[in-house]
Symmetry: C2
């Protein structure tokens, strides 16, 4: 987490997202979430009177907002803003995370989807909304790079799909190659979506 002082409530939501990344929703214990948040046990009931469902819903929302903010940040920081370069930095964030902290934690949205889609309409919708929150700035960034409107929405779906799948493959094989492979293979396709992008132009 960044350096400013977070409230106990914020720390619990963040902690819930982190535990879901490792163990899924069903496997995420409230005791572990509160312990990792360095919060008193009673604060759980105080801040989340509706219990685990409420807390997980907020953690999913947090994850979507976090992913969206990273996309904005990466897109703004690119020296040469191309779709392929943006995809590469999105994947590089995961490479760094795996390289530094090991392969224990995956994407919280994929983990939550696996557990809740069948049994909780409210949490399934929270995951859907989180993906939508992530897709929106990605599509907008592609548009600013010159990708035509309909293509931008499609390529955002391709980027998130390939990234999420490669995270699962890298995590389970404890190997960064799947992430690197999707970047290498998709970069030309993504860059060629900008009309007049020269050598990357689509056939």
């Amino acid at each position: 987490m960044p350096a400013r002082e977070y409230t106990p409530r914020e720390r619990i939501v963040y902690s819930a997202a982190q535990v879901v990344r490792e163990r899924g929703v069903s496997g995420a214990g409230l005791r572990e979430i509160v312990d990792r948040a360095d919060a008193p046990w009673g604060s759980l009931q105080h801040y989340f009177p509706d219990g685990k469902q409420q807390l997980i819903g907020e953690a999913i929302g947090w994850a979507g907002a976090y992913a969206a903010a990273r996309v904005e940040e990466y897109a703004a920081a690119l020296g040469t803003p191309t779709p392929g370069a943006l995809f590469a930095v999105m994947a590089a964030q995961w490479e760094r995370d795996f390289a530094r902290r090991g392969f224990a934690a995956g994407c919280p949205l994929v983990a939550a989807a696996a557990d809740v889609a069948a049994d909780s309409a409210a949490l399934r919708e929270a995951v859907r909304d989180a993906f939508a929150a992530w897709t929106a700035p990605l599509t907008a960034a592609l548009r600013r790079m010159g990708v035509p409107r309909r293509r931008a929405a499609s390529l955002a779906v391709v980027m998130l799909s390939a990234l999420e799948g490669a995270i699962v493959l890298s995590r389970t094989s404890e190997d960064l190659r799947p992430l690197r492979t999707v970047v290498r293979e998709l970069r030309p396709l993504l860059d060629a979506a900008v009309p007049g992008a020269g050598s990357g132009r689509r056939a």
Copy 2:
């Protein structure tokens, strides 16, 4: 399941994979697995003396073998065997499954990865091996279609990554469009990997 008579043991493994598809590993109850398998409760202990871990490991192995068999079958049945056409039929299987049975069940390998990667080396390795079992016939099929060796391995990773991610997006949005979008966007890239493939040729 196909029509031949399955043993109670086989039915329990199949049932475990189906329940994991809906609820993940932590959320999968043994009682539900046995009930859906239409097997006596005692058969669980009889066939799986090492308990849930053993059963889930076998269910993951079954899922990898199932996915691999489907790839073989689809590749053999293609009128015009191209990489893009193979990807399209792999995605179409999921479209049919969602259209017929709703969006409750996702891929068991992704669901298992979310729950077990952090906590069980044995089950993480089972998921890794299942993905490898699925990747092998896919890479072999791409090779037979004329894709150069190294490219075939890379594109198999792209196909599985994009498919798995799109399954999550389609499932959580209860909408087939993510699956259709990745097929539409990736077909030209995949088909252009066959040298001399004409209009799909890579720029």
